[in-house]
């Protein structure tokens, strides 16, 4: 049995050991991106950066950097493959689960904390839109990250409330939100009350 199999799929292993489109400080010195986006928090052990070349709203080339675990590296690599040649609007809508599926699955606890690439990608696309006088064009179409440590969105909070979370403690039990730096708590509680008002 492969030494990796118990932990990650062969696809993850492949992308971890041979990452695609990763920024090389020597070879890519002249890579001039049209937009960059960075998300994540070293406190939680993961940080990601996307650099995009965009022409007529099509992503023509991409580079990325990641500080993170094997699945963070693999998921960013996979995402970079997927978005090449893609319209920025379609790229904007890629979800962590789509990446996890393409990687042949990831452990549940890894999806939240290591698949940050889609957020970095959206940050880059937002920066591109803003630079071109189109700020916020896709906003509202996507989930907004509330807990940046664990990558938990407003949609996740909404779902947890739908499943029965009614207070901060039960929301934490359901999502682990705010268990790293805790900086999102007031914003998250605001949303929690809003959703409890709607669904409670």
């Amino acid at each position: 049995m492969d030494a990796f199999q118990w932990l990650y799929s062969d696809i993850v292993k492949d992308h971890f050991t041979n990452p695609r489109n990763v920024y090389d400080p020597d070879r890519d010195r002249d890579f001039a991106p049209d937009a960059e986006g960075m998300v994540g928090n070293i406190k939680c052990g993961d940080q990601m950066m996307f650099m995009l070349k965009i022409s007529n709203d099509i992503i023509t080339d991409v580079r990325w950097k990641t500080y993170g675990c094997a699945s963070a590296i693999a998921s960013t690599s996979m995402l970079s493959e997927v978005i090449k040649g893609m319209h920025i609007r379609d790229a904007y809508h890629i979800k962590p689960q789509d990446i996890a599926t393409r990687l042949g699955g990831l452990p549940d606890n890894k999806i939240h904390c290591s698949v940050l690439g889609d957020k970095a990608l959206r940050a880059a696309i937002d920066a591109y839109l803003e630079r071109n006088g189109r700020a916020g064009e896709f906003k509202g179409e996507e989930a907004i990250v509330i807990c940046t440590c664990l990558n938990i969105t407003d949609k996740d909070i909404e779902e947890a409330v739908k499943q029965g979370a009614r207070d901060w403690h039960s929301l934490q039990e359901a999502t682990k939100i705010g268990t790293v730096c805790g900086g999102c708590r007031s914003k998250a509680e605001e949303l929690l009350h809003e959703f409890v008002h709607i669904y409670g």
Binding site: A3, F4, Y23, P25, C44, G45, K65, Y67, G68, A70
Partner: protein
């Protein structure tokens, strides 16, 4: 499958050494209940008592009756904390002092007492992992029931000054426990010289089987059974004697004591070699733990800019087995509590690797690791958003 296996995770557990294995194979037919009065039972009991004497000798006591066998380190630690619960719940003397860097077993047993209303203090340690003696002295008083400080830390290898800690505690009438699980067999252990009331031992860290450990209880120190039942182990620990585990433990303890001098010299030299090679070949590394008062086999290194789980799995692909303080590998959200307690920033803690060597580690294995590691760190750092800074800041 990796082409070879270089095991450098001896603090997690050790392989069964052949002498122990042989003794256990023989002992498989020693099925008699050591509590039975007949000849076979008495023979089993005699073997168990020989093993007990060997374990007593390993931890520096001449009185084997102070040693009881348990299922392992966790049970031994819990037996002590359960005793404190029963003794302290109706007493003014109920304060528990322990450290922030204890094994999760002690941390959680102490946290449970805290939930039960006991005043519990998790004392800070310094940047090398040694107990902050000023903070310790400030917490001592007539209300302290137990001081529990590990003899040596499993993650960074720092050795605590148990003799001084115990003497201070006793000035205030407090009891003293030390978890000597990582110290035994690696450095000299002497419960009598240390003057502790309780000490925890585990067999699988000294090349013996899992599922067997011991608790030293100084003559006269209070103790309550965690597992009640028959009259085995002076009524302190019920349950039919684990002949196989105990006999294996006896051999492992006897050899560990006989070899500890060689172990310190030989494994210590290998650790030094690995440390020197890493420092020479990889820029911006930080060696964690005490520079001198450290286990001869434990080398904990931070590689800022590279994340621990990614390093661990890259080494794993080369057949090298280590562990990391990164949160990503632990299943929890936080990096190692030990590395945070010695004041490492999250980046240094997430980028840490523990190499724990053992009696079967060779120079060739050390050199293999020292060859494979630099390109792994370089590769991860090249793709990193974080520059390899030793301040812990990006």
């Amino acid at each position: 499958m990796a082409v070879r296996s270089v095991y450098m995770d001896y603090n997690a557990t050790t392989p069964l050494r052949p002498e122990v294995r042989n003794r256990m194979v023989e002992a498989m037919d020693l099925y008699a209940n050591a509590s039975s009065m007949h000849e076979m039972g008495r023979r089993a009991r005699a073997e168990i008592e020989r093993a007990r004497a060997a374990v007593a000798a390993l931890i520096g006591t001449h009185d084997p009756s102070t040693v009881i066998f348990t299922s392992g380190g966790s049970e031994s630690n819990n037996t002590v904390f359960n005793t404190m619960f029963l003794r302290g719940r109706n007493s003014q003397r109920r304060k528990i002092l322990t450290t922030a860097i204890e094994h999760p077993c002690v941390l959680n047993a102490a946290a449970h007492l805290k939930e039960e209303g006991f005043p519990v203090v998790f004392l800070p340690v310094d940047a090398q992992g040694r107990l902050d003696m000023d903070a310790y002295r400030a917490e001592l008083g007539p209300d302290v029931l137990l001081v529990s400080v590990m003899a040596a830390n499993n993650e960074i290898g720092t050795i605590e000054d148990i003799a001084t800690i115990a003497a201070l505690a006793h000035e205030h009438g407090a009891l003293v426990h030390t978890d000597a699980t990582q110290a035994a067999g690696k450095v000299p252990v002497s419960v009598e010289k240390w003057g502790v009331d309780y000490a925890t031992l585990s067999c699988h860290k000294i090349y013996g089987p899992k599922g067997i450990g011991a608790l030293y209880i100084r003559k006269g120190a209070p103790i309550e059974p965690l597992i009640r039942g028959g009259h085995q182990e002076q009524g302190i620990r019920a349950g039919t004697y684990n002949n196989l585990g105990i006999l294996g433990f006896g051999v492992a303890a006897e050899l560990a004591l006989a070899e500890v001098g060689d172990y310190m010299r030989e494994v210590g030299a290998l650790r030094q070699r690995l440390r020197d090679l890493i420092i020479a070949r990889i820029p911006n590394v930080k060696i964690n733990g005490h520079p001198v008062e450290v286990l001869p086999n434990t080398l904990n290194v931070s590689f800022p800019g590279a994340e621990g789980e990614a390093i661990l799995l890259s080494l794993d692909l080369e057949g090298i087995e280590v562990s990391t303080g990164s949160a990503c590998a632990s299943g929890s959200l936080d990096p190692s509590h030990v590395l945070m307690a010695i004041g490492l920033g999250p980046e240094l803690a997430h980028g840490s690797i523990r190499f724990s060597l053992g009696k079967y580690t060779t120079v060739e294995e050390v050199d293999y690791v020292a060859d494979k590691l630099p390109p792994i760190i370089a590769r991860l750092r090249r793709m990193s958003t974080v520059s390899p800074s030793l301040t812990g800041q990006s």
